[in-house]
Amino acid sequence: MTMFYILLVFILTGLLTLFLGPIKVLRNIVALLGYLAGSALFIYNIKPGLIYSLNIRVYNIHFESGFSTVFFGIIILAVFLIFLLASFHEENDGAYYLFAFLTLTGAIGVLFAKDLISFFFLFETMSLFSFLMVLKGKNKNSPKSAFKYLVWSVFGGYAFLFGTFLKVYTTHSVMIGDISFIGGHIKLLILLLILTPFMVKAALMPFHLWAPDAYSDSKDAFTVFFSGGLSKIGIFGYFIALFKIFTEIASKYPWFLTVIAWLGGITATLAGIYAFMQDDAKKLLAYSSISQLGYVAVGFGIYTHYSVVAAFFHALGHAVYESLLFLVVAGVYYRVKTTDLRKMGGLIKKMPLSFIGLLFGIIATSGIPPTIGFPSKWLLYEAVIMKGDLLLTSLVFFASITAFLYSYKLVHSIFLGKLHKEHRDVKEAPLGYATGIILLLIPLFVLGVAPGIAVKHIDYIIRFYLKPELGYNLTTMTTPLGHVNFPVVGIVMVSMFVLSLIIYFIFGSTYKADQTDNYTATEAISDDFELHYAGEFYGFMRKAFGRPLKWSFEKLLNAFLKLFAFIGEIARGFYMGDARVYLFYLVLFFSLLAYLMGGKL
């Protein structure tokens, strides 16, 4: 029953923090201790292949742990630690931790669910309490964003529920099990319905509309967990739906997979373009997160052994570097109280550790060795090329370019350039953030150099479903296209970087310039004059892409909503008469029914 104990520990911790009320320190300590107890239980006791069950009158609830449970569980728990570290420094109250821990409970519980109803229960738990977390968010917009998030995630949840019932109806089993033997095309409908909430959670276009707002308007610490941790449930869902529920998707409906891959590619590209047009650091990162999750969908869509390994690895990498980036931004926000890129700049000397974190974060995002971003991108590119879909390939490559663009914007606008006057007394981000950054930098490099640690585990997850094609050991991988040794690549990359630095320092004609004296040309300006090139950053890009992007899915949705509102108005008209009209309904009803019964009377 370990699994229940784990969930119970989390729930009780949440409740305890609720009742501890006003004492913040105590609350933080309790939260940390509860978290540690729960995750220790998880790490030491949860092995693949455990089975639990629970009986609530008519519902027999079944749970099971698999390799995927452990894999995603560890990712989510790790990201939650980062969230806790960051939230020590945030304004929080009892309910804050309660909702966070219940979200965690849902997220961990989902990984164990063996039947679809309990899956839905825990999934909805997660959605619900993360909604409340967003609702408690940091600014005036957060209720609105939370609303959007709620509607979208419940939409997904209900689709899942409908799919569940269709599945139960056709297969007479509520377990997560194969549906590919069902006759007719209903199985595709079931798959699509079951996949919907995961596409929503993983913010696959066109289900991404909630994500930028919800990510950017929730509290900074929670965004770390929201983006880094909860989106993994979406990935887990891809896995459940495509491998456990519809096992023969590749042979029955290959075009469906192609659609998913394409959606992933489009998501990666469009979200990348949106990202570098943002002026808000968290919005930018939100789009970047969506873009990266698009790659994961591409990996699943290609549906070969190494593409799926790439997808899983990319999910892992996403957890690491998106958490890192959001954490850094959270730390910066803690000090400068803004996330508007136009109002920051030159913080490099004030917050060096954050700068390092952000720098390696964006390096990983761009997929440069020796960071964690490289192996997955490399595998994914190979998979796309192997598939032979040139258009998709170019789309994915183009997406990588956008990643460079927004990464540069981020690092430049926050840390480089001229320091703003009001930020002169800014200090390094406090202990919690710093610890988090250091903790995240470790896997960032370790897994980048030795991806085998994770790939081995991933291989266990999927080797049952797909023919193993990928050869690997701790530091190398072998695909049909070739062989790569990650430490070597990393060393080459680092040495090239060092080499070019040396060349730059030796041969470049440089002089040491003050942060304030760039861009000044000939004019002498005072210290107070704000000079920072971030206002119209990539303005030309906005000109190029802005107009076509204006037509959005959101507008279509709003049109739909208007239609429903119109129908609603008509329905409401029914209830707007006076008493005589209501009586008339009664008489009409009687007459109509009597007429319909007609001769039988």
């Binding site: 009158r57 825990l122 419940v154 009586l583 009664l586 039988k600």
Partner: protein, 486 residues
Amino acid sequence: MVSPILVIALSLFFAFVIPLLGMLSKKLPRWVPPISILVNLLILLSNMDKISGGAMLITTAGIKPPIAINLAIDRFGFLFALLIQTVGFLLSIYYLAQDTKDERFYMLFLLNILGASGIVMTGDLFNSFVFLEILEISSFGLVAVQKDKKSLEGAFKYMMIGAIGSSLYLLGIIVLYLSTGSLNMADIARLMPNIPDSIKLFAGLLFLIGIGVEVELFPLNAWAPDAYEGAQDSISTQLSSIISKAGIYLAARIFFTIFNGFYALEVVLYLGIITFIIAELAALMQKNVKRMLAYSSIGQMGLLLFVFALISKRADIFIFTTIILLALNHAFGKGLLFLSLGALTGGTREYYIDSLKGSGKSNVLAGLLFTMGAFTILGMPFFFGFWSKISALISIMKAGYVYLIGLVLLVSLFEIYYYGRVIVNIFSGEGKAQKTGFIYASIMVIFALFIIAFGVWPHPVFSFAHKAAVALFERTTYITSIMGGM
């Protein structure tokens, strides 16, 4: 052994005694409803073990049925009686804290509870009509008690439809009496096979209208938004948690036990889903939150009736378990919603969504409780609504309407939309600080505790509801336990 008939007799006694007490002291009358309902609850609970299998027979006038009126309490009725008394008790505590000047209000309130419990306890058809009238007339009075424009208009509309509806209900009773020579429910149910189909059809139609008014069935529910909106918050709670539940009981008793699922249920099947869809659509763009809750209430009742009518497609106890769960969820959830809405407005009766802006921030408790109520109605996990919603969907699936699940869920999405809009609105912006009184707050908390306790550990409720469903389902046992061997 305490006879359950005392529930009715003592309530009446207490109601009659209120004016006498009012002459002694102005403070005494307000204590009568809580005491009376508490006594009722104790009486009911003391009889809990005695009710098993079929129905518990309590004669009046010392003569066996069908000659004289009798009460027939089976587990199904018992559950509803318990529900009504519990909600009634909480509300009576609420009124204890209110500053109501007129003692007659307490009489009306007590008689309203009495009417509802009479309906769920009686075994006689005409007696149920009398109690229905008690319920309705006291409801008109309670709705109008505010004496402002809205409440008066709502009360008048309710009165007009209610009067004609109950008259038709009476006509239905008479038609059954003429064809069977009996007014006892069990006796009529026993003689039902002898009645020609055409008479059954017509009587079913009349009952459908009479009960349809109470349970807010589609074309007959037009009074409901007006009455809900016009009434004060606690009365709206009463309308949705008590009065419509008594209607549901009556519908189950008449259409299932007596008519044995004949014809009328098929009409209810279609009308139920239509009610659900139309009410939820109407709520979608509603700006007045209270009216929105009223539409939502109608919608939930529609879903409940739809699920109930599925019994005509497939005889399954689970469907009855489901309607009990839905009824319980709706009673507590809607009650909580109306009460917390009242707390959010701070008694100003300004229900427009814009005027509620930020009220959840200044009155956090009420805001959270409103959210909880909304979540249980929406069927969110950890709230009771989850189990009732899942059970409803399972029932629909069992009856073979699996594609309707999609429709139901789509319509539920509207619910999410309009509830979410309100929740978001009350938590954004800044509102005026208005604290709720301790008693008011604790009543709402008790409602919420019911919801959460049932939601976190539904096992006891499930088994209780299951037993009640069995009692309703086995109509021959009901008949034999009243009428003796067959």
